[in-house]
Symmetry: C2
Subunit: 203 residues, 2 copies
DNA sequence: GCATAGACTGACTGTACGTTCATTTGACTG
DNA sequence: CAGTCAAATGAACGTACAGTCAGTCTATGC
């Protein structure tokens, strides 16, 4: 690798890291080329020596971030462990990696889906609607617990996870990771969720 | 209610519906006041008679959309059914309601987290990283199936849902719906996921 | 049928921000 | 040390878009 290529790679890395820090701090909406340039301690023009457009820069920053995290998960795997232990470690590793990338992930997960600050009038209203819905689902679960129909589990936690599976099913369709109709996932989610929390999960 | 109030409510509803249609079609980024005005067949200025800022408009449109969906879920509930059946119906109802609001939800779930078109160079690259990761997790699950350690389940589906639970845990913290450290969720997810798919889920 | 209020309009303004490019810097060469 | 050239700079430009407001339209009351 020539000297120029080393410098180029160093600059690119520096700019991408800066972009990710800016995204974490200001959210997707608030990420401007000026801010990235300031954070990377280079002039605005310099960024355009390495990236054609702002979009290209932001996309590269996000994809590179995900790539690094995926690589870290892969590196944590030990195929020689017994299968269940391997899955357990896989989950724990992902948790660890996620939490050390919290700020970055935040912009992908909430920050920009709505560009809402949690501590603001609309943010609180949004959360009131959402929390109300979760409370309702949790109350149905609590009712089932009281009837001994499912095992004792934190109903708020379970309600939230159920919601994640439901929106996840839709997301999976939208990402074209599954082409069967949405309805056919319903039974699969029921099965996964219920067998996970039912008192008598054995057939 | 006076005549003026009726007209006002009608206008507000009309504008909010238009905003949601624009959001669905152009994504959060591409939602401009001009487009909403055109879609609602009113002048730009009219929108500012009912909403102080664009942010207020967008927030109202999103929150109203969520509110309507939450109300629909609530209306579908029948507390007289047995608990497990009630949960089952709850899940199915949410699936139904989600799919009839697909376009709207899309902007909240993916469209704008990254403002990426799925069918584009960066979109494909993004998906390649993500799909690669899912393939890896699925292969671990497949391995466990082959060893008879977990029950037969679509490994791609399970891998995706596991990922949803993991990012869900983070999202739950970020939304301030749980304050305990992220790590303490790890065991709960392991439990929910494994007991859901393990061959021998009974203690 | 005229007057008045206020709902509605859309051309206009200000600005934030992505992108460009003429100029400067500084590392390397002979 | 002078000459060369790519890398870097940041002022300037163009555009898209949120927000404004002077003017028009329409309904209601007299």
């Amino acid at each position: 690798m020539t000297k120029e290529e080393v410098i180029k790679e160093y600059r690119v890395r520096e700019i991408l890291d800066a972009a990710r820090r800016v995204m974490a701090r200001y959210g997707m909406q608030g990420t401007t080329v000026d801010r990235v340039a300031e954070e990377a301690k280079v002039a605005k023009g310099t960024i355009y020596l390495y990236f054609d457009t702002k979009d290209e820069l932001v996309n590269a920053a996000v994809i590179e971030g995900l790539r690094e995290m995926a690589a870290e998960v892969l590196a944590s795997d030990d195929p020689s462990k017994p299968p269940l232990e391997r899955i357990r470690r896989l989950i724990l590793a992902q948790f660890r990696i996620q939490s050390s990338n919290q700020d970055f992930l935040k912009t992908l997960i909430i920050g920009n889906s709505l560009d809402i600050e949690l501590e603001s009038q609309p943010g609180r209203e949004f959360m009131r609607v959402y929390a109300g819905h979760l409370d309702f689902v949790a109350s149905v679960l609590q009712d089932a617990i009281d009837h001994g129909a499912i095992r004792r589990i934190d109903p708020q936690f379970a309600a939230f996870m159920l919601g994640e599976m439901l929106t996840g099913s839709l997301r999976r369709r939208l990402l074209k990771l599954a082409s069967s109709p949405l309805e056919s996932d319903a039974e699969a989610v029921v099965e996964l969720f219920l067998k996970g929390i039912a008192t008598i999960p054995c057939d």
